[in-house]
């Protein structure tokens, strides 16, 4: 039957790709196979309609980023500090997805504590991009993106604080959704920057992403930033983009935007226009300061959130000297350089002499930016732009240049600052055959508009399934 066949296709991809790509830090193929067999039995017993009513995610193999806790399974967050940590509880997002029938394949690699844009800073080594194994998959949810792109799982969970779902989705040629802040519970998500951390979805098509969002969203009593009003049923999507007002974000040269990326996004805008959408160029005042705002606010929150890794409650400890010596030695030994860099800048902006100069100021700019987005989204239903300034770069190319690495997120960060839902959708390939992603941003809680445009794009581009096997030749044909 289809369910078991699909599962075994994923396993075959795992056998073909995992050694080359290194998406996973923990695999559970045998247990997953038993679960697939149980679902197949259910399918045979009650029929597809009833099985799908009981399990909306029937047969969906799922990879989960390693900063989401699952009881009894390692959650290392890509860090030596948590290399043996086994959480005593399960994240709400994972619990709900599994309850709805998703089949857990394993935990995926990530930048240490989700601090990175290339999945190279993991304690477990780098993940590679399946489209070109000499290149990065993006990050920090690079393991999840690569797993979906290579067909090792049908969908994956990632987390997105500054673009960590959308940017790797773009670089790996799959769909990546960051919902509105306050949509999916962060209970069981190991915190990085709490004002921006969100659970996101990587998938091969909009329908799968919508199904996952539908089962994971909503109040759970464990994350007080969650919206209380929830949708009981998946939203029904209007078809096509006819009549949608799409604002094409002005694309300057400041972020090092690659010409092929620009052309690909502009071509997508023309296609949307050709399908009946109204497309106009739009600028968001202060957007050029988003990266600086994000650095101040997220690094400050990281410095506070990561103060807990001191060798007392969990994780590793260097048992040496008094309390202070133990604390400092533990952090010195088990935290990586990028993590230390962010903790230090965060500590700097929170110190008494700098708090007003930087932290308060950044909050104020963030507020203004959010209002500027709200103003633009009164005129437009969706905002369109690139997800990443470039396609996937070579492994190691930006690792020693933090400024260049941080610029990788310049197009994704604004939606995090504004708390708005955004999706990255593949829109072509460059001359090297590497995927390009476009980003759509919607008003708060209007994920239905994102799905509407994403579904329309699947028709317009002729791409019913994103990913390496499905995409490489078809994008060529589209050109």
């Amino acid at each position: 039957m289809w369910l078991r066949e699909e599962f075994e296709r994923n396993v075959a991809c795992l056998q073909e790709w995992e050694e080359k790509v290194h998406s996973f830090v923990f695999l559970r193929t045998n247990e997953a196979r038993k679960e697939a067999m149980r679902e197949e039995e259910l399918l045979a017993e009650v029929g597809e309609e009833e099985a799908r009513r009981r399990c909306p995610l029937l047969g969906m193999t799922l990879a989960v980023k390693d900063n989401l806790c699952i009881k009894g399974m390692p959650a290392t967050c890509g860090s030596a500090a948590l290399k043996d940590y086994v959480p005593p509880y399960t994240a709400t997002a994972v619990e709900r997805a599994l309850f709805a029938g998703a089949i857990l394949m394993g935990k995926t690699n990530m930048d240490e504590f989700a601090m990175g844009s290339s999945t190279e800073t993991s304690h477990w080594g780098a993940t590679r991009n399946p489209w070109d194994c000499g290149r990065v998959p993006g990050g920090s949810s690079g393991g999840s993106a690569a797993a979906v792109a290579a067909g090792m799982a049908r969908a994956a969970l990632g987390t997105d604080s500054g673009g960590s779902v959308r940017q790797p989705a773009a670089l790996c040629g799959v769909l990546g959704l960051k919902p509105t802040y306050g949509t999916i519970s962060r209970y069981g998500l190991i915190a990085y920057a709490s004002s921006f951390d969100e659970v996101g979805i990587l998938a091969r098509n909009a329908k799968d992403a919508a199904a996952l969002l539908s089962v994971m969203q909503g109040y759970d009593g464990k994350d007080d930033t969650l919206r209380r009003k929830t949708q009981d049923a998946p939203p029904s999507f209007e078809k096509g983009v006819k009549g949608l007002r799409i604002g094409l974000l002005k694309m300057g040269q400041e972020e090092g935007l690659n010409e092929e990326v620009r052309e690909s996004v502009q071509a997508a805008a023309r296609r949307f226009k050709g399908a009946g959408a109204q497309v106009e160029t739009v600028t968001i005042p202060l957007i050029e300061h988003a990266l600086a705002v994000y650095h101040v606010l997220s690094f400050a929150q990281a410095s506070s959130n990561l103060a807990r890794y001191h060798g007392v409650l969990f994780g590793e400890r260097v048992a040496r000297g008094d309390w202070e010596e133990m604390y400092e030695a533990t952090r010195a030994q088990y935290l990586g350089t990028e993590v230390k860099r962010r903790i230090l800048l965060g500590t700097f902006v929170l110190s008494s002499e700098n708090f007003s100069v930087f932290y308060r100021r950044a909050q104020s700019v963030c507020d203004a930016l959010r209002k500027n987005f709200a103003h633009a989204l009164e005129r437009f239903d969706l905002l369109l732009g690139p997800t990443s300034a470039t396609t996937a770069w070579k492994l190691g190319e930006r690792l020693l240049n933090p400024r260049q690495m941080y610029l990788s997120d310049s197009y994704t960060i604004p939606a995090n600052l504004a708390g708005l839902p955004a999706v990255s959708i593949p829109c072509g390939t460059d001359a090297k055959g590497l995927p390009i992603g476009m980003q759509l941003i919607a008003p708060a809680y209007r994920e239905d508009l994102l799905f509407r445009a994403a579904l329309a794009w699947e028709e317009l581009s002729g791409q019913a399934q994103y990913g390496l096997r499905q995409g490489k030749e078809r994008w060529k044909n589209m050109k």
Partner: protein
């Protein structure tokens, strides 16, 4: 403006010990990053929002407070299972308070 960062004080505040090599490298990185975030201080006031403190959630979360009720927590042994050192009831840490003087 190129701000000089006092790494001695900063590492102490952050509870981080750095090797000489790390310290030199991170000092350069941090000073470069601080010069970037200083751009925020040059934005004219007129372009900024009136409110200074943000509530990031666009949701209705601010209208709600959790009920002030005690709930069962996870079992102690599960919470202690990841502790680097425990005595079965408490986390064990180096002595933090000196011996009482008579």
């Amino acid at each position: 403006m190129n701000r000089k960062i006092d790494m001695e004080r900063l590492t102490q505040l952050a509870g981080l010990r750095l090797s000489q090599e790390e310290r030199a490298r991170l000092q350069t990185d941090l000073e470069e990053m601080v010069s970037c975030i200083e751009s925020l201080t040059h934005i004219p006031e007129a372009e900024l929002a009136e409110t200074a403190l943000s509530a990031y959630a666009p949701s209705d979360a601010r209208e709600w407070l959790r009920a002030d009720e005690t709930e069962a927590s996870l079992p102690l042994e599960e919470l202690l299972q990841n502790a680097p050192l425990s005595d079965g009831a408490y986390f064990v840490v180096p002595q933090t308070v000196g011996e009482e003087k008579e």
